[in-house]
């Protein structure tokens, strides 16, 4: 057995040593843990780890196969997202014990804090004492066994799994109910208690989902005359689209859901232009050899940065919202163009990993499809806080897109209308976030960048926090960003435009004296290489394209992504529809579209007089409208409009 003393070495050093011991199959003992965070994080070997004292946050988090024993208490997030193996805690566990459990046996002899087992998918969480507020909150599967009292609102918004309570049930949560208990289930519990030498002589009550809120109660009527943008009607007020919207709501009694982003005319990159008249710029093909577009992002804290052949990425979109075929076409196109692909919510596929050279792995609040093994094979990790299409809200995936396979990957029951939680279980503030980022770094040996995805709302505050919390870069998504499903009013009216977002972000970094310190990848309505150069000139380090890449790959913009019957096979899980999608052909189309960015970015950069795209600056820009001038602080020069018109025709 190897013994490591945390009085002498840091947790980071200890975790490396624990992994080395694990690789050699050697058990480990930790002395003087003194409630320090992240002990054992990222361990994936079948060894025993004995912790002689109390551990802090995320003890045994992001692990698989290992067996932990803690002599005293643990902090928040015990065994976070543990895939298999076991943890035994002799004392108490703090909040969110067993969060996102995916198959481990987690035994706490004392009490557990609030929200134990939040978003767990599988495995067991046993609490020998009392549980606290909202045990089993949004659990999707697995079982929670509480020998003492349940605490308030037990089983709040659970969609699957079982909760067994030996003491009294303080109160039941929303959509949870008492159900009958089968003898076989009791036998299984007794077997578990015996195996961990826990004595209990009381009687259990069983709580499961009541099934009243798993689906939207009334389905939206299918209206063929799509899209239903208010702005696409014939007159401003009470136009046919507005009337249609009211009629539908009169039938279903709730907000409508649709795909895509806002349709409102908003100040955007088309409202700014280049100061210099570049209509005479050389348009020869060799411009690509003369201008540097190479972009590195994410090396700020010593991780291996993403290396992009141009300052462009594929925006995060999930397998689930999109078909596997569409995701593979995006991954392939990203490789062909030498840029990065992003998993979005819902896990990483083997084929996707193989198809993309550089793959960013996104972690969302529901921890759907989240796994230590995929973290360790990702090129970057991204913590999703919110997105431009629906800042502050969780994702939605309607039941007819949740196939058996998607349910299995995500660890959720098939056939529910999945509404992802709007918050992470373990990130309720900037202070918790610091500890979460550290957990990700420990899990991946500090090798890959960790970014944060932010929907543009209070960008100024958010960027300052992101910078202080030590993220390697930010993915900043403006109001024009699209989604596979969200409430129409949220899509249209929540958030601030992409143009305002980048300006606020840049200003925020200036205000804290760290201009340029935190790379910003801007997204939300980026359509062309012209937009990209303007975004970079305003201070972005790169842009990301989502909707436009999908359109390049065959999307017909019908806005019905949420329905799951996408006729071209992109936003569907229906095999008949997906068959229509020609992956190699669409991958090439997306690749060609991305190459149009490359040429435009290079040509404009040279036209502006630079040999490197990262030399463009706001000095190269003017505003074309008073609104854009007010938002960006660029000068408003009406005379420059003509120059811009010429440029647009030149490059298009």
């Amino acid at each position: 057995m190897a013994t490591f003393d945390l009085a002498n070495i840091s947790v980071r050093e200890a975790n490396e040593l624990i992994r080395t011991a694990g690789a050699a199959g050697e058990d480990v003992e930790i002395l003087n843990p003194d409630a320090k965070h992240h002990i054992g994080v990222g361990l994936t070997q079948d060894i025993n780890v004995r912790i002689r004292g109390s551990a802090g946050y995320f003890c045994a988090g992001l692990t698989d196969n290992a067996h932990f024993e803690v002599d005293n208490n643990v902090g928040w997030g015990l065994a976070d997202n543990m895939l298999g193996g076991s943890v035994v805690v002799r004392g108490n566990a703090s909040a969110i014990a067993g969060e996102a459990n995916r198959g481990a046996e987690i035994i706490v002899h004392g009490n557990v804090g609030s929200r134990a087992g939040q978003v767990m998918k599988s495995g067991t969480l046993l609490c020998g004492g009392n549980a606290n507020f909202m045990a089993g909150y949004i659990m999707y599967g697995g079982r929670i066994i509480i020998l003492g009292d349940s605490g308030e609102q037990v089983g709040q918004n659970m969609t699957g799994g079982e909760i067994f309570v030996g003491g009294s049930i303080t109160s039941l949560g929303t959509d949870a109910e008492l159900t009958d208990l089968a003898e076989a289930e009791l036998d299984e519990i007794r077997e578990l208690l015996d195996r961990y030498s826990v004595s209990f002589n009381g009687k259990f009550q069983k709580i499961t989902n009541a099934g009243k809120q798993l689906r939207y109660s009334r389905e939206e009527p299918r209206i063929r005359s799509i899209p239903f943008f208010e702005a696409s009607g014939d007159v401003d007020y009470w136009n046919t689209k507005v009337q249609e919207d009211i009629h539908v709501k009169a039938q279903i009694g709730r907000y409508r859901i649709r795909g895509y982003g806002t349709s409102r005319p908003l100040p955007h990159f088309s409202d700014i232009a280049f100061r210099k008249n570049i209509s005479e710029m050389p348009a020869d093909q060799n411009v690509l050899d003369r201008v540097n577009l190479q972009t590195e992002i994410g090396g700020r804290t010593g991780a291996k940065p993403l290396t992009l052949s141009m300052p462009v990425m594929i925006a995060p979109m999930s397998y689930g919202a999109l078909s596997k075929s569409a995701k593979l076409a995006l991954a392939t196109a990203s490789r062909l163009s030498g840029i990065s692909e992003n998993t979005g919510e819902g896990g990483m596929m083997d084929e996707q990993r193989a198809a993309a050279d550089q793959l960013i792995y996104q972690c969302l609040s529901g921890r759907l499809g989240w796994s230590i093994h995929d973290m360790q094979r990702a090129d970057a990790l991204e913590i999703y806080i919110s997105q431009g299409a629906k800042p502050g809200l969780g994702g939605q995936l309607m039941a007819n897109k949740i196939t058996e396979e998607i349910a299995r990957i995500r660890g959720i029951p098939a056939g529910i209308d999945l509404r992802s939680p709007s918050r992470h279980p373990d990130v309720l503030g900037a202070d918790d976030l610091v500890i979460k980022i550290e957990e990700f770094r420990e899990a991946t040996g500090y090798r890959v960048p960790v970014s944060v995805k932010l929907g543009a709302g209070r960008v100024r505050d958010d960027i300052k926090i992101a910078c202080k919390d030590g993220f390697d870069y930010v993915s900043l998504d403006g109001l024009q960003g699209s989604t596979g499903a969200a409430g129409n009013e949220v899509l249209e009216f929540v958030g601030i435009p992409t143009l305002a977002a980048i300006q606020e972000a840049v200003d925020a970094l200036e205000e804290i004296g760290l201009p340029g310190e935190l790379p910003i990848v801007l997204m939300g309505g980026i359509k062309t290489g012209v937009d990209a150069v303007k975004a970079l000139a305003l201070g972005a380090s790169a842009v990301a394209v989502g909707t436009s890449a999908l359109i390049a790959g065959g999307c017909i913009s019908c806005l019905q992504c949420h329905v799951g019957q996408c006729v071209v096979g992109i936003a569907t899980q229906n095999p008949e529809h997906e068959k229509r999608y020609d992956i190699p052909a669409e991958a090439l189309n997306i690749h060609h579209y991305l190459e149009s960015f490359r040429w435009q970015i290079a040509a404009i950069t040279e036209g502006l007089g630079y040999d490197d795209v990262h030399k463009v600056s706001r000095e190269d820009l003017v505003a074309l409208t008073p609104e854009a001038a007010r938002i960006t602080g660029l000068s408003y020069v009406p005379a420059d409009r003509n120059a811009n018109r010429n440029l647009q025709s030149e490059v298009s």
């Binding site: 802090g56 309720l428 202070d431 300052k464």
Partner: protein, 303 residues
């Protein structure tokens, strides 16, 4: 967004190493807030005496502020007993028997008042616990109790005056440290402002201090003030409050912010994370407990 810590030694002696303990606890959770660190310390009470500490900065403006402070002392017929300039602050001891709230509001218009009290002294500045200690020699402080805070600024500025602990502007000897966000801040603030209280910052934590001090000044027991605070304040919070003789905590009903406590025959210590409590007892596994959502408690100093 922050980390909080508080300690009260139970023995009759009032020379426990409170400063040293708070430095260790705050250093233990400095990852929760690297921007600034602060301490609310309670000295032995001297009847008739009053301590005031001001932010005056380090530039030429400091002398102007100090002379204004001294003018106001004259206007209020307060006798200056002792003065000291340390770091960016100016600290004085005075003899004063008039209306403390009036004096405090008058002083606030002259300089940024950090704390006022017969016993209370708030010391807060940019940087970590050890940085602040280096300037203000916190570790030399002995007493019976105190609270402290590490801050990660989210919505307001990184500035010494925006740091915690917050005193209740106009009330002596009440300090609070808070982790979380009060969402009905403006509603509650307007309610208190209508009753004549002044606010010196837009920081939601100041509201908690004024709210509690207002209750205390109506002879409501601290425990009862904490009970009503859980009903009246909306949002996420874990906070500690201290007075001359008591410390207490309150925790919101949503259990969104952490808090752990350790109690023995010798002391009660409360912090955001157990790692801070363990700093007081390195190498020992502590029998800690976590206050439940929507709960509060207080501890009285032995006299």
């Amino acid at each position: 967004m922050c980390g909080i810590a508080g300690v009260m030694y139970k023995g009759k002696s009032i020379d426990a190493e409170v400063g040293e303990a708070l430095i260790s606890m705050l250093d233990g959770c400095q990852h929760r807030g690297p921007d600034s660190t602060g301490f609310a310390l309670y000295h032995a009470c001297e009847p008739g005496g009053l301590r005031l500490r001001f932010f005056v900065g380090n530039n030429g403006q400091a002398d102007v502020s100090i002379s204004r402070i001294q003018d106001i002392l004259g206007e209020f017929q307060a006798e200056l007993l002792k003065e000291e300039r340390v770091g960016s602050t100016y600290s004085i001891k005075i003899r004063f028997s008039g209306d403390i709230q009036k004096l405090a509001y008058a002083m606030e218009s002259a300089a940024k008042l950090v704390s006022i009290g017969e016993s209370l002294d708030i010391i807060k500045d940019l940087g970590g616990a050890h940085d602040v200690d280096d300037v203000y020699a916190i570790k030399n402080f002995t007493g019976s109790h105190g609270i402290g805070h590490v801050r990660l600024a989210t919505e307001s500025d990184v500035a010494p005056e925006a740091s915690h602990p917050f005193w209740a502007t106009g009330f002596a000897d009440v300090a609070i440290v808070h982790n979380g966000q009060i969402t009905n801040y403006w509603k509650m603030r307007r309610r208190l402002e209508k009753r004549g209280f002044e606010f010196r910052t837009d920081n939601d934590s100041e509201l908690i201090a004024v709210y509690l001090a207002d209750k205390l000044s109506q002879n409501i027991a601290l425990k009862d003030a904490l009970r009503s605070s859980i009903d009246d304040l909306d949002g996420t919070f874990s906070f500690l409050v201290s007075t001359k003789d008591e410390i207490g905590y309150a925790k919101d009903r949503l259990a969104a912010k952490p808090m752990v406590k350790f109690e023995s025959d010798d002391l009660i210590a409360i912090a955001s994370e157990e790692v801070s409590l363990n700093r007081l007892f390195p190498g020992h596994a502590l029998n800690t407990s976590e206050p439940s959502p929507g709960t509060f408690d207080t501890w009285q100093r032995s006299t």
